[in-house]
Amino acid sequence: MGEWVRVAALEDCPPGSLRSVMVGSVPVVLCNVDGALYAVEDRCSHEELPLSDGELEGPILVCQYHGARFDVTSGAPRGLPAVRPIRTFAVEIRDDGIYIQGT
Amino acid sequence: MTNEFGFTTLPQAPEGVTSTLNRGMVETLSAFEPAWLRERRFRAWEVYESLPLPTTRLEEWRYTDLRKKLDLGALAWPAKTQCADDWEACPEALRRAMEEDDPSAGRIWGVDGQIVHVDLEPRLQEKGVVFTSLREAVQRFPRLLEEHLATQALPPERGKFEALNAALWTDGVFLYVPRGVDLELPVRVTRWVAQAGVAFFSRTLIIAEAGSRISFMDEILSHDLEAQTLVSRAVEILAREGSQVHYVGLQRLGKGAFFQASQRTLAQRDATLDTLNIGLGATTTRVDLNASLLGPGASSEMLGLYFGEGDQHFDHNTSQDHLAPHTTSDLLYKGALDGRSRAVFRGIIRVHPGAQKTDAYQKNRNLLLSPEARADSLPNLEIQADDVKCSHGASVGNLDAEARFYLMSRGLDREQAERLVVLGFLGEVLARMPLGSLGQKVTRVIEEKLKKV
C-alpha cells in the first residue's frame, strides 16, 4: 500500500468540481460528487489525454476530448469511446485537508 | 503579470536548448573548422531552434512521447575519450564484438563519439577508395564534403533531430568508392559507448560512384548505462548509376540509451541500395529511414529486425519515395516483442506522379511473446501513378501453437521449441542479405535475450 499524500485543502475542491493534483509522479483528478470525494488517474483510457480537462455530471466524468464517460466511484467506463476502466485511488478527508493514497 | 525585471513574461529558451545543447556548443565545435562547415553548423542550429520538439500530436510521433522518453536538459557533453589507437587498449566488449567478425576490407572503431582507429586494405587505397573519419575527411576532401555533407540526403530542414545532428556532430565516417571499384569484402565500423548521461552525435556519409560495389557494416554497442544517454546517428548514402550498396546497421546498446537514427538513401539510375537495420538494444529506439529512388531502374530493399524485452520501445518510421519510372522498393520489417516492450512501425510508400512501372512493397510483421507487449503498425500508401504494382501488409500474431507442438513432438522442450519458432520468424529477414558472420552474431544475441526471458 502506498503512502497517503496531502493533495489539497477541502475548499479547493467544492461539490461538482474537479481538481488535478499530483500523487508522487502520477497525475490524479480529484472529483467532488455532491460532497463525496473520489480520485481517479488523470488519464483517459481512450487516448490517454488528461481527464482533468473534462466535466463532472453527477458521478460521471466526461472526457472533453471525445466524450468518453467514466464512473468516478469505480473507474468503470460508462460511455464510448471508452471501453476500459481508469485507475482509482483511495481518498480521505482529514483535519488539515484532502489525502490520497498513492500506489 | 510583470516580474521584478519588468518582463511581462519570462524570456524562454527555444525548445530543446539546454545547458549542453546550445549555440555555444556549436561555437566550440566549429572553432577550428573551415568556414563552410561553421556556417553549415550554425544554419543547422538555427533550424533546430526554430523547430518545436515533436509531440504525439504529430502523426509521425503519435506513439513515441518524447516528453516522457527523452530529457534533453539532463544530458551532458561527453568527456574526451582516453582510448589509444591500440588493439590492446580497446575496451574488452568492443574487442570481443570485433573478434566475432569475418575479415574486412577496412575497419574503423570508435569510443564515445570519437574515432580511434582507421585501416583500409592498401589495394583499395591505391584504387582511390577513401575510408576515414569525418574530421579527417573535412580536411582532406573539403570540396566533396562541402557538396554532400548534410545537403542532399539529410539537410537540417528534414527535422528537429536531423538539424541537431548536423549542428553538433563530433565525428563520423566517410566512405568514398570510385567508379567501378568493388570492395569485395565489407568495411566495418564498430563503436563502443562507455559514458552515461551524455549526448553523442555522429554522422556517416557514403558515396558510391557509378558501378562500384560496397558492403558497409555499422555496429554500435554498450553496457547498460546508469543514466539516460542520447546516441544520435545520421547516415547519408548516395548511390550513383549502377552502383550497389549494402548497408547494415546493428544496434545493441544497453539499457538507458535513447538511440536516434536518421538515414536517407538516394539511388540513381540502375543503382541498388539495400539497407538492413537491426535493433536489439537501447531503451528507446527511433529510426527514420527514407529511400528515394531517383533514376529509372533504381531499387532498394529495406530490411529491419528488432527484438524487444523489458520496457524497450522501438519506433521505426520509414518512407519509400518513387520519383522515377521503373523503380522498385521492397520493405520487410519484423520484430518479436517480449516483456513490456513495444514496437511502432510507420511506413509509407509514395509513388509520385509519373513514376510509372513502379513495384513497391511493404510488410511489417510482429510476434508478441508476452501478455504485456504491444505492437502498433501503420503501413501507408500514397499512389499517384496508375501503372504500378504496390502492396503492403501488416500482421501481429503470437507464437504459432502448431509450430511449437510440432517441434515439441520432435522431442524439444517448450523453451527450445519457442526459441526455434522465434528465430525462424526473424531469420527470414537475415536470410535476405548476405551477412556472413554478422548473421550468426545477431542470432546469438537474440538467443541470449530469449534465454534471459
Binding site: H66, G67, L80, P81, V83 | L369, S377, Q384, D386
Partner: protein, 471 residues
Amino acid sequence: MPQNETIQSLGLDEYKYHFVDDTKYLFRTEPGLSEEVVRQISAQKGEPEWMLQFRLKALEIYRSKPMPKWGGDLSGLEAVLDQIYYYVRPQEKMGHSWDEVPENIKRTFERLGIPEAEQKILAGVGAQYESEMVYHSLKKEWEEQGVIFESIEDGLRKYPDLFRKYFGTVVPPHDNKFAALNSAVWSGGSFVYIPKGVELKTPLQAYFRVNMERMGQFERTLIIADEGSRAHYIEGCTAPVYSTESFHSGVIEIIVHRNAHFRYTTIQNWSTNMYNLVTQRALVHENAHMEWLDGNLGSKLTMKYPSCYLVGEGAHGEILSIAYAGDGQHQDTGGKIIHAAPRTTSSIVSKSISKGTGRASYRGLLKVHKGATQARANVECDALLINETSRTDTYPYIEIEERDANVGHEATVSKVGDEQLFYLMSRGLSEDEAMALIVRGFIEPIAKELPLEYAVELNRLIELEMEGSVG
C-alpha cells in the same frame, strides 16, 4: 443557368437527378448557425428541455473544436457552413399511406426512380424529404411484432424513455467536430427499435434527398436491436446537382444487444459538390453481429469510417466498403474496429476505384485491447487505378495490446491490365465495355452483398462512368 453547365459536365444519365422541385417551405431558419437557430429548431420540434440543453451544449463543443486537419481538404467548408440553412421544414404533416403523400413529392420520388427501387419490395418506407420525414409508413406485421420505425422526431416524442436511454451514448457530441454540429442541429433521420427475438425478413429502408440549394442535412438515426433480433436497414440517397457547395453531416448510432444480428447498408451518390461527413458507429454486445455495408459513389468529399465497438465476448464486426472516386472527387473512407472483449472477431474488406483526377483513400483503425484474448481480425484493401492522374492512399492504424490475438492487414494497388483489356476486346467487347466488366468483377465480392436493386444501379453507374475512361 449555371445548372445547365453542370449537366454538360456530367454523364448524360445523371441529369435525371437534376431538378429542383418547387416544394413550399413552411419554415426555415436564417442561413448560418447561432444559438438562436438551435433554439428555434428545438422549439419548432416541440422538444423537451433536456434535448434543448443537449443541443446547446453540443453547439458549444462544436465551436470549441478545430476543423480537422487530416483526411480531405476542408478549406472550402467554412464558407459553406456560414451560408447553409440549418433547418428547413417542408410539410406540416406526416403521410401514413402512399395516398396521403403530396403529389409533387410523389413526382419527385418517381423522377428519382424510387418506385422501381423501393416499392416492389417494400410496403413500409421511411422516407426523408428535406430535413424531415414527410412520408413514413410501417408495415403492419412489424407493428404487430412491436417494431418501432419512426422518424427520429416521433421517436423522441412517443418513446421518450427508450430514446433518452440510448441517444448520444454511442456517438457523444464530443467525438468529433461534425458529430458535435449534428448534435446541435440534427433534424430528420430514423428511430428504430427491434424487440427481443424479432426477425425481420424484409429490410427497413429510408430514402431521402436534399433538395434546396445551400441546404445542409443533419440526419440523425438511432437504432436499437434488442437481444436475439435480426434486421437489415438500408439507406440510400441521391442528390440533385447544385451550383454551390452543399453539406451533409449525419450521425448514426446503433446498439446491437446480445445475440442480435444487424446490418446497415448505405449507398451514397450525392452530387459532386457535396461535403459528406458522417459518423456511423455501432456498439456490439455479447455474441452479436454487426455489419456495415458502405458504398460511396458521389459527393465532392466524403469522410466516413463506420465503426464497431466489440464490447461483449464473441461479438463480431464486419465492414464492407466500396468507394468510387471520379474526377475531382475524394473518397476518404474506411472503417474502425475496436476489440474490447475476448473471442471477438472482425473483418474489413475495402475496394476502391479511382478514375480521372479522383482520389480514394482508405483510412482505418484496428485496435485490440489488452484482455481481448483470441481476437481475430483481418483487413483487406484493394485499390484499382484507371488513369495516370488517379490517386489512391491507404492509411491503416493497427494497434495491438493483446498477445493472444491474430491480426492481419493486406492491401494491394493495381491498374487494369492491358492483357485483360485486350483479351476482352478480342472477344468483341468495346474498350469501355471491357473496362466496365473488369471494374464490375473487381467490386463483385461486395456488390453481391447488396440488395438486387442497388446492385443493378451500381452496375449501371459503373458502365456510365467507364464511358470514355480509356484513351
